[in-house]
Structures are given as structure tokens and as C-alpha cells.
Amino acid sequence: MNRARSSAAILGLVVSGFGSTGCMEFEDPPEVELKTNVVDWREEIIYQVLIDRFADGDWGNNFSVYPSAPGKWHGGDWKGLEQRLDYLDELGVTTLWISPVVKNVYTDAGFDAYHGYWAQDLTQPAPQFGDLAALQSLVKAAHGRNIKVILDIVTNHMGQLFFYDINGNGQADDPLNQSVPGTPNVFKENEYDPTYDVRGVQAETSLGESGLAPIIFAHDPASNHMPPFPEILQNPLAYNRKGRTYNFDDPDQLVRGDFPGGLKDVNTELCPIRDAMVDAYTRWIELTDIDGFRIDTVKHVENGFWRHFTQKVRQRLAAKGKTNFFMFGEAFDGRDQLVGSFTKNGNDAPPPADELATDNQCVTDGVPLTADMLDSVFYFPQQFQVIRDVFRYRGPTSNIQKLWADRAVNYGVTPAQGGAVNASGQGVSPQKLLVNFLDNHDVPRFLFTGAGMYPEDPIFGTPLSLETRRKMLHNALLFLFTEEGIPCVYYGTEQDFQGGNDPGNREDLWTSGYDMAAPTFQWIRRLSEIRRKYPALSKGDLQILWASDRTGPSDPDANVFAFERTGGDAGDSYSIVVINANIEKEGSPEFGGQPMQVGAAPGTVLVDVLNEGGQTYPVTNDGRLSIKLPPSSGAVLVPESQR
């Protein structure tokens, strides 16, 4: 009996001991059920988050953090983002595009991989942002608020993981002196990032070339310059090994050259590599139930890869219950045809039969590839030709009309099979799914006023006031939230961040105090509400009502643009958007005394739902509409009956 009592006492102590320290278990079990969380991607409002700069929710993962240096880790993480979902909910955001989650080379040449684009291990989360449980928790919390999540991925290249041993001495020489044949001259080369050579980077001695230079993977755990994962990426054949691209107009350099900065180009033409990329990135979806991919540097990868990757990802996820998985690519390029070439599905621009046959040699599951590729792309041509040239440079609004005129041809009218769909399950064509944006992490922010950058006073050359620039920004945001496609807001825009080029445009959001009363925050919140309230603004077909070549001070329609949206998947919902991008004078969509013709029936009374006061505008008997807008302003008109 005594022994039994003693045992019970010891057991009690042990149990209470465990109780006092807490049991080791995660709050959210890792099992994730894949679901389709999106009805129609056109209803979404994307918010781009650079995780390292958004919110620091866990100081436990702040390794080597230097907030004063723009190019270093600052401490933001997934937990911080989760803790700030209220802020985003209030802003009206419905989808988060989060920066890459995979483990990176931590630091290179004094710069850190806070952005996430220097992948080292495609199978592990970046520990600076948290662990898998934190990422799962973020996604789950977002879904709990009906906020979707898009994951940023890179398939074109890996981080700076190896060097080309050009001189064969087994060490990375920087710089390496190389002789110029036939001359006494030498030039400096860098074995981590040597110049492109169509034959592959050549080994070279003082006596001349000696064949392909071997590559040597670095081994430095502290900076995570370690051999990559999955393991197939440790095979030298997994890379094109041609050196740094210096001419992006050369197709071979574009596709097979290393990305400047020593980012090693993956040989995505190899079937095992294609499968490895599908496996590696689909796994993240299976682990988290994330809803889409934003894919980096798509123009640096051959179309065959995109056919394989997108179709196999869709098929694999659909088999597990996830459809309407959205994939849009980034081609940092102003050429509309080029950017649109990645969304040519079906018969829009089918590849040659032999090319498709070659691609199909990589298929092992018996489901042959079609011509389909991405659902959408980041609309970079619009960023250059409209956001920059019209809204910042105050160019003619006819630019918009010209750009959009080729939209169907350049981006395609055929939805990807198994790709993005509408509420009825019908595919949505790429031309209606373009992801629109004002700025992002690769371009200066809209409000930037640095040297040589617009907007600036054209006469005195001094920067425009913040108030003026903010009005211009609000006008551009109005355009972004009402045009066809999906709006994407870069974090910090709502707080009037004004950073210039990378890394100046990657400010810490916490310096704003997450001010929800900030004027631009409130403006975006309002635009979000309007967009959600009036289906025409997200799903209606778009018809340009007014565009003008005129920008002169006496031109009544200088910098004025107007379009109406209705029909399509929006039913009867109707709206007109009128924008005066001129910062100095009133503007009106009229010329020669003739106001613009609209599609609304004569007698329809339209009401401005954007501005205070709810001013009304009747459609005349001949179907015209008169409206005058102050400088840098706009209006969203809907039938009073739909208000």
C-alpha cells in the first residue's frame, strides 16, 4: 500500500510537472484539406506583401536583423502578417500575394535574401519568416476571413549557389583576370557571375580555353550557401551554365543565361527538372491550401516548361479537390505581345506540333499536354504605358485605348482548361484576368519623386507637392480598381510610401503605425467597397467611352478618360468611370461641344457613388452624358436604380 501511494505521488508530480510546462503540441494540426476558396478571381483585390517588411510578429526568428539597412533582413514574418489581418480586412483586401516562402541563401555580397528570390531549398520554409506551422496558420486565418493567398514562386533560377571554376583552382576568384586573346589586355571576370557564353562558360588557362568550366557548390551553412534541394538540383546538368545574361534580346541568353547577380539558371528543358518543379511547388499548396501562384521571371523560361508546369499543377491539385487555382506570371517587360505570349491558351496561338510533341515526351502520367499555359500575367505593359505615361507623366489617354485595343489578340481569349473560372464554372479568358498594378517591389513607387523621375513640375522642375501627387495616386487607384482585370496593390501604397528603386521601395510598413485613418488607406478602402458592391466593376465587359490625344490647357478633354462596364458575368450591373488625369484644369469627356455617348438608356439617371454628395447625371435623350471633373479627380456613375 505504501509503495502504491508513493507511486501515485510520483506520478502526480510528473503529471503536474508536465502540466506546468505545457505539452508540446501545435495548436493547428498540419493536416490541410485542399479546397477551392475562390468564386471568381476578378472579384478579388490583391495586396502584395513583402513579408520581411510588413510586420514582425515573432522576434524569435529575427536572425541578423538590421532594420537600418534597406538591403538587410528587417524582421517581418508570417505571424506578423497574420496578426495584421484586421488591417487588411479593413482596407478591403481579399487576396494576399506573399513573397516567396522557400529557404534562401541568407546573404550574399552584403545583401540579404529578405525578398525571397534567392532560393536554395525548395522544400523548406525560410526560417526567418517562421515555420510551416506559422505559414499554415497564416493561410488558415486568412481563409477564415475569406482572404485568399497567392504564393510567389521562382522556377527560372536558384540563388547564387555555385561558382564556375574557370581557372580550375577550386576557389571562387573575384575578380579573375582573364586575358584578351591576341592582346596584352586583361579583363576582370567574376567566377560567381561570369559573362554569358553561348557554348557554356568556358574554363580558361593562360594558354587558352579548356572546355566547359566545372561548377562548384559553395558550402557555408552560416550564410546558407549550401547545395540546393530537391537533390536533383545538385546535379550540374540541372543548370544551363552559360553565365550572366547581358543581352535580353538574345533569345538564348534570355532563356538560358543566368539572371544578373549570379542567380543560376535552371535547365527547365529537362523532363526531371520540370517534374521536380511541379512536385516542389505543388507540395506547398498541398501543405497550406494556398490559392494561387505568382510566378517570377516567366519570360526567362521556355513556353514548353509553362505548358508542363501549369497543366500538371492544375491536374494534381484538381485531383485533390482544389480547382480555380490561379497562376499568373511576371514578365518585367513593356512589350505587350511578349508578355501576352504566356497566356495563349487553346488555339489562340498553338505551338508547332513538333514542339508540343517534344514537350509531351516529359509527360509520364498519360495525360498529354495541350497548348495551355498561364491564367494571367502581371500587366507590365500597362504599368509602363498607362500608369507611368498617362497617370504620372500626364500623357494622352489615347495611350490606354491603343494598349487595350490589342488586348484580346495579345493575351488570348481562350481560358486555360482547368484554370480560372467564373461563378458558373466557365473559364475566364486571360484578357479579362490581367493583374493590374501601379507599382511593385521592382519599380519605384507611384509617389516617388527622385531625380529624373516623374511626377515633377514640368516648368520649374521641382517635385510636385505630396498633396498633388496623392491626388494623382488616388486617380490611378480609381483606374486600377475599376478597369477590367484584377487590381493589385503594393503594400505601403495605402500609407503613401514614396520609395524609389529597389531596395528603396521596400520600406517597413510598421513605420506607418498601420494608420487606418491615412487618406490613401481610406481611399483604397472606399474603392474596395465600390468594387465589391457593383459587380460591373469587376466582371462587366468594358467599353471605352472617351479617350483623347489632347493634353493642351485649352482642350476640354485633355487627359480625360472614360469607360463603361456592364454585361459579361455582371448581368445588368452597369457603371461608368470617368477620370480626369490632368492635374491643373477641369476636364470633361467632350469635344467640340459634344459630350460623350454612353450605353445607358436615355433618361437614365446616373449617380456618382465615389464622391461625397452623390451628384446625379442624367443621360440625355440622344444617349449622351455631360460631366465636368475637377483636376485630378474621377467619378463612378451607376444607375440610381442600382445604387
Binding site: 529557404k103 526560417p127 577550386g170 557548390f217 558550402h219 557555408d220 551553412p221 552560416a222 547545395p227
Partner: protein, 580 residues
């Protein structure tokens, strides 16, 4: 040429005929006339060496096996005579160092309790006499130290000029040890325990370079229990220098000199003149042969780098020693020791320069067999000891050594080392004569000869003339020579054609004579310490010896070398290292 005639080979090229006994003329071109007689003697020994008679392989041994700092201290004391039974000895409280006590012993000033001279007979007879009082309990301090300051007459520091592994003590750099002991007699069991902490450090010292930092080693940290379980049985566990008798003049323990962490047992027979001792221990020299630590990404996707031991193997050493003293007359005796060691290194693997690729390191093995024969008078410190030690395999590289220049199977099989050492002291009236000499032949495990294959030796004598009880004058005369397994390239004056290397292995010789007036506060005696010295050494280095130093080293340029300075050496109660 018959292959069995060859004693040195370079690969398959025979370069040296053993059939010709190499006497003086063989070393002629590089020999000073001053070196004639001693070098002839030594050369004869070298050439007659059995190890030389076999075709060799490449060595590697650090030609200086046990450095002065590595092995010297406490026992830097007199050449250990036939020791009193260790158990009984250690059961006694450490001897005091008061002058009176020193006076009572012929080793005046040498406070080693185990001094053979007077102690051995006493110890042998003690058990038969009245029961001795129990050992004193308490803390005891001991120390060994030597300090010196010298110049070369050119205003540069005096420098140890020895060519061979073990040379004169007079030009050795400062070294110091502090012994802290705690001894307790446990009435309940009759056992005496002794915990020993020995801290050692070496030059440079603060007053020389103003550097406030110090590197200190824990040379001992063990506890020994005497008369445990049964009378005469002792056991120890800890980290320990484990040594037998030394050859004082050359600062060396010719038979056994181990540094391990482990333990041991010793049984002293009731006759007080016989014991056997066994020990087993581990060590892990800090080289890539035993351990390799690499950086890896931390587990569970943590940031940073973690160290991982890919290779982590220890050397296991066990030794067995048996010693017996035969009494001769009242105090004298003859001593015989048989000794053996086994060294075992397990197999392991390490990462190659190609990251992620591993190679296997095979297990390795070594052994030592040796013997000691000695005689002592027991009336004073007069004695003579002959040591013979042969080591094979991994043991040839020493207990702290790392096998190098390996055999094709990447083991140390084939490596071998022979030491033959003679050491002694004779004192009569105002005269004393200390003498020592050794011959050493080392071959590493690789085939053919190379720089690390070494034959060397020294003969040395230090006569003392005690002018009074408190001091006198000593001289030290020595000749040392070394031969290495590379061919000699004669120097060539500028502009002259460069001759072909000789067919002979390079050999250098060094003759030295010194004058050492000294003061012995504890009274006269060759081993009387402390001893304050004024030292002058004159060294002649022959051409072969100069060729063994790199270009621009002054030793490669100078034929004559001076060493002038002062020195002091002491030992107080410092004898805790002896285990066998």
C-alpha cells in the same frame, strides 16, 4: 648490387650500401675536425643500427617526440633510481623541503620522496620494522620550474641549438609546474587517497614580452587510492602523466611517457622491491587524423551553422610494466623493468574536399616493447640505467603523435622507432659526473626514404666539481648528429655549376662545450636543487647541420654559436607523475 646490401632506398633506387660500415670518412665533407672522434662513434652506431640495415620507408615522425614542455617537469628530477614501492611512497606525506631534511638525504635538496638513494632500502625494510605511523592528511604543494635568460653574444636571444630530438637542458626555455595535492588517510579502510592537480605553463613569460595572457595546461588531474582492497594495491583514475625513470641530462623518459585520460592499477609485492602496473587510457590529438568537425545547416530548419563531428575517434592506449630490484649489499641494487604498450585506433570516416563525399580511415594499431636495466649504489645518487624501447605501427609516432606518411593501406603499419638510451650519474667526494646518450632510429610507414626518416643520437657528459657545499663549476660536453632520409645537396657559390646531390643521406653534426658555474643552496650533489647557474655554451655546427635549417635562418649561416645567460632550476615535492 644486391638489394640486401642496401640500407637506404629512395623508392627502388639504392643509394647507400650497408655493406660499407660508415665511419668517419663517410661524413667527411660535412664534418668538422672538431667532431671527429664523437662523430665517428655515433656514426658507427648509426650505421650499425639494425633499422638502418633494412630498406626504409618514409617517416614522419616529429623528430622531437616528447618536447621539453611535453614531458619534462616534475620528474625533471634526478634519474629515477630504483624507486621505493609507489604505494608505500605515496602513503607518506610529501617530503618537506626544509634545509635540514635535505641535509639528511644524500640527494640534498632533491626532495623527491621516492629517491632511490636512501629511500629504496628503507622502503624495502619498512614493512618488517615497526608499523609506520599513518600518512599525514592535508594539502601539499609542489613545484618544478626552470627559468633562464640568455643572449647569443650578438644581442639576439639565446636559442636552443639542438639538432636532435632530445638535447641539453641548459638552453631549454622556461617551464613551470605547480602541484597541488590533497592527501587523506582513511582510518576505516586503511586507504590513503591523493588527489593531484598539476598546472603547467611555459615561455614566453610576462617579464619578457609584457603579454599578460598565459597558456596553461592541466598536466595532472587524478586521484589515486593506495592500499585499497588489499595492502599493496593502488588504483587511480583521472587525467595523468604516467612515467617511469628519466634520463635527466636529455630531459627525456626513455621507456614510458604517456599522457592519457583513464586509470590504472598497481600492485606492490610485500618484498617492497617488485611491482606490476597496468594502465589504460584514451586521448585524442587535435589533428584531422582523429577528428574532423564540419559545418552543417542546423537541424529542423534553424538558421545558422552547426558543428558536426564527422570523424571522432580516440586512441586507446594500455600499458603493462613489471619491475624488480635485486639488492646488492646494504644499499645498492640492480633493477630490471619490462614494459609494453598497445595502441588501438578504431576506423572512422571523414569528409573529403569534395563536400558530401566521404572516405574511410582504416583502424590502426601499434605496440611498444621495452626494457630497462639499472644499477644504483643507494648511498648517493650514483646510478646507471640502460633503456631499450622499440615501437611499431601507430605507437612509433608517440602517444600524442599523429601517424603520417602512411602505408599504402593508409595505416601506420611498417612505422617503427628504436630508442636505446644510456643515462647515469656518479658522485664521489667533490666530483660528480652525469652522462647520457641515446640512439634513435625512426621510419615512418611509407615506403622509401624521406625527410622524416631519421637516425640520430647524442652523447653528453656533465662533470661537476663542487668547490664547496654551496656551489661549484660544471662543464657540459656533447656531440649530436642526425641523419635524414634525403640526399645532401652541397652548397654552391654563386656562378658555379650546381653539383648533383650526393648519394648519401644528409647528415649533420653538432659539438658543444659549456661552462656552468653554479650555486646549490641546498648543498652539494648533482641533483641538488634549487640550482642557480651562470651558463656559457659554445656550439659548433657542421655544414650538414647548417643545411638542415631553412635559408636565412641564422643557424643555416653560422658555424659557431654562443649561448650566455643565467638560469635556475628547482623542484619541490614534484614527483606525482610516476605511475609505474
Amino acid at each position: 648490387m644486391r638489394r640486401d646490401d642496401a640500407i637506404f632506398t629512395r623508392g627502388r633506387t639504392l643509394v647507400y650500401r650497408a655493406g660499407v660500415r660508415r665511419s668517419g670518412p663517410e661524413f667527411g665533407p660535412r664534418r668538422s675536425r672538431l667532431h671527429g672522434v664523437p662523430s665517428a662513434l655515433l656514426a658507427a652506431a648509426l650505421c650499425a643500427s639494425p633499422s638502418l640495415a633494412a630498406a626504409q620507408t618514409e617517416p614522419t615522425v616529429d623528430p622531437k617526440p616528447a618536447t621539453s614542455e611535453g614531458a619534462p617537469p616534475p620528474a625533471d628530477a634526478p634519474p629515477a633510481p630504483p624507486p621505493a614501492p609507489e604505494a608505500g611512497k605515496q602513503a607518506d606525506p610529501p617530503a618537506t623541503n626544509d634545509g635540514a631534511a635535505a641535509q639528511k638525504r644524500e640527494g640534498a635538496g632533491d626532495v623527491k620522496p621516492a629517491e632511490p638513494k636512501a629511500e629504496a632500502p628503507k622502503a624495502a625494510e619498512a614493512p618488517k620494522a615497526a608499523e609506520p605511523p599513518p600518512p599525514e592528511s592535508g594539502f601539499f604543494l609542489g613545484s618544478y620550474g626552470r627559468v633562464g635568460a640568455a643572449t647569443d653574444f650578438r644581442k639576439r636571444p639565446g636559442r636552443d641549438a639542438d639538432l636532435v630530438a632530445r638535447g641539453s637542458r641548459l638552453d631549454e626555455s622556461p617551464y613551470f609546474e605547480l602541484d597541488v595535492q590533497r592527501q587523506d588517510y582513511w582510518k576505516a579502510t586503511g586507504t590513503t587517497t591523493r588527489a593531484v592537480i598539476t598546472l603547467g605553463t611555459s615561455a614566453p613569460l610576462f617579464h619578457y614580452n609584457a603579454d599578460f595572457t598565459i597558456r596553461m595546461a592541466v598536466r595532472n588531474l587524478f586521484l589515486q587510492a593506495n592500499n585499497i582492497v588489499t595492502k599493496g594495491l593502488s588504483a587511480w583514475v583521472g587525467s595523468r602523466m604516467y612515467r617511469g625513470d628519466d634520463a635527466y641530462l636529455i630531459d627525456y623518459w626513455p621507456l614510458d611517457n604517456l599522457n592519457t585520460m583513464g586509470g590504472g592499477l598497481r600492485y606492490d609485492f610485500a618484498n617492497g622491491r617488485t611491482f606490476i602496473a597496468w594502465h589504460a587510457g584514451l586521448n585524442q590529438p587535435r589533428t584531422g587524423f582523429f577528428s574532423q568537425t564540419v559545418a552543417r545547416t542546423p537541424a529542423l530548419n534553424q538558421v545558422g551553422a552547426a558543428n558536426v563531428n564527422i570523424l571522432d575517434r580516440q586512441k586507446f592506449i594500455t600499458s603493462l610494466k613489471a619491475s624488480h630490484v635485486v639488492k646488492v649489499g646494504e644499499t645498492a641494487g640492480v633493477k630490471a623493468v619490462l614494459y609494453g604498450e598497445l595502441h588501438d585506433i578504431p576506423s572512422g570516416q571523414r569528409e573529403t574536399e569534395v563536400k558530401g563525399a566521404f572516405e574511410t580511415l582504416p583502424a590502426d594499431f601499434g605496440y611498444v616493447v621495452g626494457a630497462q636495466f639499472g644499477a644504483f649504489t643507494g648511498r648517493d645518487a650514483s646510478h646507471v640505467n640502460l633503456f631499450i624501447r622499440y615501437a611499431g605501427g601507430a605507437a612509433a609516432y608517440g602517444e600524442f603523435g599523429t601517424p603520417f606518411q602512411l602505408a599504402p593501406d593508409r595505416t601506420s603499419a611498417g612505422a617503427r622507432e628504436l630508442w636505446i638510451t644510456l643515462s647515469g650519474n656518479w658522485e664521489t667526494g667533490p666530483l660528480g659526473l652525469m652522462a647520457a646518450g641515446y640512439f634513435r632510429s625512426f621510419r615512418d610507414a611509407s615506403e622509401g626514404l624521406d625527410y622524416n626518416d631519421v637516425d640520430e643520437g647524442i652523447i653528453m657528459a656533465r662533470p661537476h666539481f663542487f668547490l664547496t657545499e654551496w656551489g661549484g663549476i660544471a662543464t657540459e660536453i656533447s656531440y649530436q648528429a642526425q641523419q635524414r632520409g634525403v640526399r645532401y645537396q652541397p652548397p654552391t657559390p654563386p656562378g658555379q655549376p650546381i653539383p648533383a646531390p650526393t648519394n648519401d643521406p644528409v647528415m649533420g653534426g653538432l659539438f658543444r662545450i659549456g661552462f656552468v658555474p653554479f650555486l646549490n643552496p641546498a648543498g652539494k650533489g648533482s641533483y641538488s636543487r634549487p640550482q642557480l647557474r651562470l651558463i656559457y655554451l659554445l656550439t659548433h655546427r657542421d655544414e650538414g647541420a647548417r643545411s638542415m635549417y631553412p635559408k636565412d635562418d641564422v643557424f643555416s649561416l653560422r658555424e659557431w654559436e654562443h649561448f650566455f645567460g643565467v638560469g635556475v632550476e628547482w623542484w619541490f615535492n614534484a614527483q606525482t607523475t610516476y605511475g609505474g
